[in-house]
């Protein structure tokens, strides 16, 4: 079983999947880091984004990668509006309320999708859906390779943005010290909404990279949201580097686990890690003790 010729492709497969997981988790960890809320609607919003990519392809014939310039700003705007007009308003300054608001949002979005688009599982066909790339003897599917580099690029852009730009500084300031940020003249409400928007923009990008090799149905987000939470906990709540590393770890564990234990049991490894982290290093790999 320990043949390298089998293990190596499996690890590569895991890394490519992990990159997309990381991108999804980045959005989640950003929202948590700044707003201190756990966005339960993350999976449902990803589902909406996947439908967006699907319909752009099915109705307008737009290639999923060409849909990036539409989906990323579109999801950003949706996120900004959601935080500004729905979640922020419902919170009344209490974090527990936001928890309920995002949970409620999940129910609304999922049932809306069920009503509008039915429970059918849909896929798209692109010329490259079934093509593969030879990576040192391992055949990896082309959409996964694109997703890997796409997710890495998106992550790099996000990190640079947070580190360099004024808004990035403001976001970090609000994340650290909300009151202090307000005192120096940062519009906290605006920063909240911007962070939420950027978090969802990550999902817009992830959806474009996912769909060529995946599918969409109203429940598709549930699987991702669990994995994304595990990654965020593993990497440390609010840590970007942690989300990236966590994504890769989870991707590889899932892939190699699937190889050993079969497709249905492959995800066991993820949850074993989740429990182990909670027991032995609850702050995560890059998290600081508070």
């Amino acid at each position: 079983m320990l043949e390298l010729s089998i293990l190596f492709p499996s690890i590569l497969n895991g890394l490519t999947t992990g990159a997309v997981y990381a991108l999804i988790a980045l959005g989640l960890t950003l929202i948590y880091g700044v707003l201190h809320i756990i966005n339960f609607a993350h999976g449902a919003v990803l589902m909406i984004a996947l439908y967006g990519v699907f319909f752009l392809n099915a109705k307008l014939g737009l290639d999923p990668y060409a849909a990036l310039p539409v989906m990323v700003p579109g999801m950003f705007a949706l996120g900004y509006a959601l935080q500004r007009f729905v979640i922020g308003r419902a919170s009344h300054g209490k974090d527990e309320n936001i928890l309920l608001a995002t949970l409620g949002l999940t129910l609304v979005l999922e049932n809306f999708a069920l009503y509008a688009w039915r429970s059918d599982t849909r896929t798209i066909e692109t010329p490259y859906t079934f093509s593969t790339v030879d990576v040192a003897g391992a055949m990896i599917s082309t959409p996964k390779v694109v997703a890997f580099f796409g997710a890495l690029a998106a992550t790099a852009i996000l990190l640079a943005f947070i580190a360099r730009s004024d808004l990035g500084r403001a976001i970090r300031a609000v994340a650290r010290e909300r009151q202090g940020a307000k005192l120096v003249g940062i519009d906290v409400e605006h920063v909240f909404a911007m962070s939420f928007g950027i978090g969802l923009a990550c999902l817009g990008a992830a959806a474009c990279f996912l769909l060529p090799a995946y599918y969409v149905n109203p429940q598709v987000g549930n699987g991702f949201v669990l994995i994304a939470f595990t990654i965020v906990v593993l990497g440390g709540m609010g840590s970007f580097a942690g989300a990236l590393l966590g994504g890769f770890i989870i991707g590889v564990v899932e892939s190699v686990g699937g190889l050993w234990l079969g497709e249905s049991l492959g995800q066991i490894g993820i949850f074993v890690i989740f429990i182990a982290i909670l027991l032995f290093r609850p702050q995560g790999i890059f998290g600081a003790r508070t």
Partner: protein
């Protein structure tokens, strides 16, 4: 009834009177068509949703038969009454199938032909039983469909128990002919009733024939990535790979095997495999070459089948089992109505139950229904050879020798 008898008498007389045979026949049909009340037949298939591709082919096959029967003068014992299709779409969901049956009952159908997928057939036959509507199951291979004692349910084709047993026997024959090079098997199946049931039968019966089942792998619908399953296959290195899944997953699995350079002695599928799909053979000839499938198939030596295949291909459709199983089911129904001489549901049920119809081109022999199952129904084993689908087993129907083990 009296009116119908009178009309029959009148038609007989007028037919006798008509002098020119050809011209007379046409005139005769014209009058009869205008007078005899049409017989409504529910044509129920999943033409949208998950299995839409197959459902549309089913509908096409049923309509082809209805058009032919009508063009040939309709039901003669009923004064040339025409068949009128009442179309229904089950949307690939059992519950929608049930509501379509309700609508068809309201519309006053005499019988229903459909509804392709096992899960939908289970639901629609039950719903039709409530109103005593005779229901011809066109494909639906799950054996539960005909094991519930429903008097209205008739299945012309074979169920998966018969198919799986035939598949195992023929595999063994093929292997024995080649001096038994194959010893190990890996089964890959989809998660629903059809795949799981088939896989269980395979896993329980193959060891008795001397094959070691290395692993049984279940996958979801849809699955968009078979890399892990194929990598595992590479590690286990089975002599024979048996997939039991639907078209999309089958195609992706076989393509992934090709990409990863996994080449067992045979890819031998049980139902749903693409070795019985002209679409697959046409679109991916190099991947399809050599694959074997045990599935519904027509008697390749029957001229009527070959003629129909030409006719279907002429209108740019694929001649798949969905098409001809429905085509034949409609003819079977027409034969029953003809003998019953009535559009009444009970009369048609009785006529179907006592049917011994042999004017079909399937390898089944005359129909004989026991508890709604046609006893002679059986599958054939097919292999893609040189870009064409050939029957390779059993011997009495074979067009070519099976190529086994396959050397790619």
């Amino acid at each position: 009834m009296i009116i119908q008898q009178r009309r029959r008498k009148f038609l007989k007389q007028s037919a006798g009177l008509s002098a020119a045979a050809a011209a007379g026949t046409f005139g005769f049909q014209g009058i009869a068509g205008a007078q005899a009340a049409p017989i409504k037949v529910g044509v129920l298939h999943p033409v949208t949703g998950f299995v839409a591709y197959s459902g549309q082919l089913c509908r096409f096959g049923a309509q082809l038969a209805i058009d032919e029967i009508n063009a040939a003068g309709g039901i003669k014992s009923m004064g040339g009454a025409k068949l009128e299709a009442v179309l229904g779409d089950a949307q690939s969901k059992p519950e929608v199938g049930v509501s379509e049956v309700e609508k068809m009952n309201e519309a006053g159908v005499s019988a229903i032909v459909g509804s392709y997928a096992s899960a939908i057939c289970l639901a629609t036959t039950q719903a039709a039983a409530k109103y005593d509507i005779p229901h011809l199951v066109d494909v639906g291979v799950a054996d539960q469909i005909v094991e519930r004692g429903l008097k209205n349910t008739f299945r012309f084709g074979p169920g998966y128990k018969v198919i799986t047993e035939a598949a195992i026997n023929d595999l063994h024959i093929m292997n024995t002919l080649a001096r038994k090079p194959a010893k190990t098997v890996m089964v890959i199946h989809e998660e629903s009733l059809f795949g799981t049931g088939t896989a269980n039968l395979l896993a329980s019966q193959l060891p008795g024939m001397g094959y070691q089942v290395l692993e049984v792998v279940k996958h979801a619908n849809p699955t968009r990535d078979f890399s892990n399953i194929v990598l595992r296959m590479k590690a286990l290195n089975p002599d024979i790979v048996i997939p039991a899944n639907y078209y999309n997953e089958y195609v992706l699995l076989v393509r992934t095997m090709k990409q990863q350079n996994v080449r067992p002695m045979a890819i031998y599928s049980v139902l749903g495999g693409a070795a019985s799909s002209f679409k697959f053979v046409k679109e991916l000839p190099d991947v399809a070459n050599g694959v074997i499938d045990c599935n519904h198939w027509y008697d390749p030596k029957d001229k009527r089948a070959i003629a129909l295949r030409r006719k279907v291909e002429k209108i740019n459709q694929f001649f798949t089992y969905e098409v001809y199983l429905n085509y034949q089911s409609v003819y079977l129904l027409a034969d029953a109505i003809e003998r019953a001489g009535s559009a009444k549901r009970e009369a048609i049920i009785d006529a179907l139950a006592s049917s011994s119809w042999n004017k079909h081109f399937m390898p089944y022999g005359p129909t004989r229904f026991v508890n709604g199952q046609n006893q002679g129904a059986q599958p054939l084993v097919l292999q893609v050879l040189k870009g064409d689908i050939r029957v390779v087993l059993p011997n009495s129907y074979a067009e070519s020798e099976p190529v086994f083990p396959w050397k790619a």
